[in-house]
């Protein structure tokens, strides 16, 4: 295994005191003169928080921007489903919060597998994000005096989370979308909805455009630009069942990987502790119940395995509030990976409740007694309604039943401090990159990162790229566009002409189950080795036996899905390989061979205190693993503890 720092992975992190690095970087970035900005074309793929905020901000600066999304409107990107809130080190609650504390909490929450420089910058920018969103008219929760309200999230002992009831992501995204619509009106930005990115075009080593499928007509279209920003989200739908949108996929990132962008830490997946449990074979997705619920809900299982009494008949003495018992300091507010594993441990030991014993209680009765039903309704009304619609149970009367589900992926395309991938000119923002959350993301930090990347980082660093690199004029007539187009066309043709016996969805379900069983909350050397073989077998069957109806010249949702599943069948193997190679536990990556006596993650800092980034070589050859060492100077490298 390679243990030396790879020359491919120059993080371009500034040196000096961590608190001064972003300023130092900004001071050194080159500017584009106002008159010249209109000469540059920028492509932004994805219109979630990262994409919409970046596209709008770059257009405001004077660049010509084209924004692409596969949904029918940019407002529908899955950032919209984020519920609980967004962190910012404002210290409005006078509880001694600070940029330094948010920085340290995020490093620790990520189990010491993220870059100090990036995380400090994120904590610094958090305060600007709230201001920007308020100015746009985002209706955050407020106190009677008219000031902003806060709540507490996991992995923290302060109250720094800003929220808009249980739909903070919706309100933030609609804010960024409104900025996008304003720029469309101004005329420097054009949105291309119902387009799916199928390739990135690299000319002379620099990203210069994309190939997309027009999902209405089926036509393949090409677009040239001076910079390409991928803001295409995470890859959690690899697991089939997840809290992600049905359309979420890895295709754009995977195409970039095959064109030379390195893929970092794919095994870092987040399994969120509080989701509505699986309840049937036909199920198409899982639904999150926001982590904010843990502010008022207490997690428990019966003391006695197999206790079938209804929850209201089980007295306190017969209940095991296992998070409060095991982690007295943080209690129900431990980091997500810790809460998820604890739920799995209790259920595997036979203490789970509900059909199949695959869930635990999240109980609000004490909070309802203390604050009244109206207060709880005001805080979480939409979440309780959603729970009731899905399960047909009333959570005001009975405790919710919850179980962990795939929710977020910390891994992603490798980027340097400028958010640029290993392909110059290809920037990666938001969940699609790997940079800020290490091996586990804290709650209310995804919104923060997406918007920090889009509003405040990319506008500066993309300008620097345009100012410093000599970019010859390129049009879509260039032979490289023709070549990428031909490859995409032949791939589509292949998918449509297999005419096998199995549906795309059946392959996706089978792949998802493999990933969940062997590469979910618990992973082992033996299991990972076997799943790699199983994925290869399934992939081989897919290309022989899938049936994709219809043609390529029309709206064909099955074809869209087939392309995404084909990529997942390759990507799943890389994820398993990364998990196999990282023979330590950290954050969301739990290797059974590497645990403390209390079943907590046991890191191996001597061998794995690094980012692992994979380089594509060829379809029939193993990828090459490169490493970027991580250093911890400002937050001491210690075993994480929420006790």
């Amino acid at each position: 295994m390679m243990t030396a720092a790879s020359p491919l992975l120059n993080g371009r992190c500034p040196t000096g005191p961590v608190a001064d690095r972003w300023q130092k970087c900004k001071d050194e970035l080159k500017l584009v003169s106002p008159n010249n900005k209109r000469k540059f074309e920028i492509i932004v793929v994805g219109t979630g928080l990262a994409g919409a905020s970046a596209a709008a901000s770059l257009s405001e600066l004077g660049y010509n921007v084209k924004a692409f999304c596969f949904q029918d409107s940019p407002r529908r990107a899955h950032s919209i489903a984020a519920q609980g809130g967004i962190n910012a080190a404002k210290n409005y609650q006078n509880d001694n919060d600070s940029v330094n504390r948010l920085f340290a909490d995020t490093i620790k929450g990520g189990d010491f597998r993220s870059r100090e420089s990036n995380v400090h910058r994120l904590a610094e920018l958090s305060v600007n994000i709230i201001d920007q969103c308020v100015a746009q008219g985002v209706p955050f929760a407020r106190e009677y005096g008219g000031l902003l309200s806060n709540r507490t999230f996991g992995g923290s002992l302060v109250s720094r989370t800003f929220y808009a009831r249980g739909q903070t992501g919706q309100q933030l995204l609609l804010g960024a979308y409104s900025a996008l619509m304003r720029q469309q009106h101004v005329g420097r930005l054009k949105v291309f909805p119902r387009r799916e990115m199928l390739d990135v075009v690299v000319i002379d080593g620099v990203a210069r455009g994309i190939v997309v499928r027009n999902l209405v007509t089926g036509q393949l279209e090409t677009y040239a630009a001076d910079a390409v920003l991928m803001c295409t989200g995470g890859y959690g739908t690899l697991y089939y069942l997840s809290t992600l949108a049905k359309g979420s996929n890895v295709t754009a990132a995977w195409r970039a990987y095959k064109r030379g962008a390195l893929f970092a830490n794919p095994c870092y997946t987040q399994i969120h502790p509080t989701c509505i449990p699986v309840h049937g074979e036909y199920q198409s997705k899982l639904t999150l119940m926001s982590e904010s619920l843990r502010n008022d809900g207490r997690v428990w299982v019966p003391q006695k395995a197999g206790d079938t009494r209804s929850p209201d008949q089980i007295p306190d003495a017969d209940r095991d509030y296992y998070l409060e018992r095991r982690y007295p300091t943080y209690g129900n507010m431990v980091a997500r990976d810790v809460a998820s594993r604890a739920a799995k441990e209790r259920c595997d030991a036979g203490f789970g409740v509900g059909a199949g014993g695959q869930s635990v209680y999240l109980d609000f009765s004490e909070a309802i007694r203390r604050d009244g039903e109206a207060a709880i309704r005001a805080r979480y009304g939409n979440l309780f309604d959603m729970y009731q619609k899905i399960t047909d149970e009333n959570p005001y009367k009975n405790p919710m039943r919850i179980y962990p589900a795939v929710h977020y992926t910390m891994g992603g395309l490798w980027v340097d401090y400028h958010l640029q991938s290993t392909i110059p000119g290809l920037f990666v923002l938001g969940e699609a990159n790997f940079s800020d959350h290490g091996a586990n993301r804290l709650g209310a930090s995804a919104l923060m990162q997406g918007l920090a990347d889009g509003y405040f980082i990319a506008p500066y660093t993309v300008s620097n790229h345009l100012a410093t690199r000599k970019l010859e004029k390129v049009t879509t007539d260039h032979p490289e566009f023709e070549r990428c187009l031909a490859e995409t066309r032949s791939r589509t043709y292949k998918l449509l002409n297999i005419n096998g016996k199995r549906t795309v969805d059946s392959f996706h379900r089978e792949l998802g189950k493999l990933m969940w069983d062997y590469c979910g909350m618990s992973r082992s050397d033996k299991g990972l080795r076997s799943v790699i073989q199983k994925i290869r077998g399934l992939r081989e069957e897919f290309w022989r036996n899938v049936r994709v109806p219809g043609s390529g010249n029309e709206l064909n949702q099955n074809l869209e899905q087939a392309g995404r599943v084909a990529d997942f069948l390759e990507f799943g193997e890389l994820l398993a390989l990364d998990a196999l190679t990282r023979a330590e536990s950290c954050g969301g990556h739990f290797r059974e061979e590497s645990q403390t006596k209390d079943n907590d993650t046991l890191r191996d800092d001597a061998n794995f205190c690094h980012v692992a980034a994979w380089q594509y070589t060829a379809d029939d050859r193993d990828p090459v693993r490169h490493i970027e060492p991580l250093e911890f100077n400002d937050v001491p490298l210690i075993q994480r503890s929420y006790k």
């Binding site: 709008a56 901000s57 405001e60 949904q71 029918d72 409107s73 940019p74 407002r75 529908r76 899955h78 919209i80 489903a81 404002k90 709230i130 201001d131 920007q132 969103c133 308020v134 100015a135 746009q136 008219g137 209706p139 955050f140 929760a141 407020r142 009677y144 008219g146 000031l147 902003l148 808009a164 009831r165 919706q170 609609l174 409104s178 900025a179 619509m181 304003r182 009106h185 949105v191 909805p193 209405v216 949108a245 049905k246 309840h279 049937g280 036909y282 199920q283 198409s284 997705k285 639904t287 959603m386 619609k389 899905i390 047909d392 549906t503 969805d505 109806p549 029309e554 709206l555 949702q557």
Partner: protein, 253 residues
């Protein structure tokens, strides 16, 4: 385990925007009451693909009631029979074994059918470009707590801001009016101090675009509110009318 259902589906099939559409009848079996409506359609599509037929195209994405991408007229009701519920959150326990369910796309001239149950709602985005925002560039913002907003106004603005832009209000309205959609955004920003400087242009711009897209007028039938999956109130339409009259008067001076 609850008993499963067999259902007859009459589904609108249309190959493309210019071709004539028609209803086709399908049977589905072994449907669980805990399945969502879209998961029931997934079962239908798996069955169609295996039988060598084209699956039914329908829009959906988050499947948790927030993105606004799903639609469908179900037995003549936008998003189906359950109040304040999107189609993706509608569960089959609301139906009975042996039921016949008629499934159509949104029917409104400004929302042309693209295929089967998929319609083009880009008219909503075009309305938003004409004023559904506050003009504030990135970096311009004062401190978040420098803008004081009474809780009551913040709450009302929030209620209006929860619109998911699905278009059920238009589909439910006999005039295909988009007044509820437009009023939600106009109200949100009219209730907040941040929205005041552009109050006049906003309402004029958005209403003009709404009219030019071909959406009909409001005749106070309130079908929109009844169909809205997130419960946007028609009080917002009253506010939109007041804002529009105010803007007209201000515009005269």
């Amino acid at each position: 385990m609850s008993p499963t259902m067999s259902l007859t589906l009459k589904v609108w099939r249309q190959a493309n925007p210019t071709s004539a559409g028609e209803f086709r009848t399908y049977k589905v079996h072994s449907i669980s009451p805990d399945q969502s409506f879209l998961e029931m359609l997934d079962v239908l599509n798996e069955q169609l693909i295996i039988n060598g037929e084209e699956p039914v195209a329908f829009d959906h994405d988050c499947r948790e009631g927030i993105c606004g991408m799903c639609s469908l007229m179900i037995n003549g009701q936008a998003h189906g029979p359950e109040r304040k519920t999107t189609t993706c959150q509608l569960h089959m326990r609301k139906f009975k074994d042996g039921d016949t369910i008629v499934i159509e796309p949104w029917r409104a001239k400004p929302f042309p059918v693209l295929r089967d149950l998929v319609v083009d709602r880009s008219a909503f985005d075009r309305i938003m470009t004409k004023g559904g925002y506050v003009t504030v560039n990135t970096g311009n913002a004062p401190d978040g707590n420098a803008i004081l907003i009474p809780k009551e106004n913040a709450d009302k603005a929030f209620e209006a801001a929860t619109c998911i832009g699905c278009g059920a209000c238009v589909a439910a309205c006999k005039n295909a009016s988009a007044m509820l959609f437009v009023s939600a955004k106009v109200s949100q920003l009219a209730l907040l101090p941040q929205g005041q400087p552009e109050r006049t242009q906003r309402v004029q711009g958005m209403v003009a675009q709404m009219d030019s897209e071909g959406f009909g007028g409001c005749t106070n039938t309130n079908e929109c509110e009844a169909a809205c999956p997130v419960g946007i109130s028609v009080e917002n339409i009253a506010r939109l009318n007041r804002e529009y009259i105010r803007a007209t008067v201000v515009g005269l001076t």
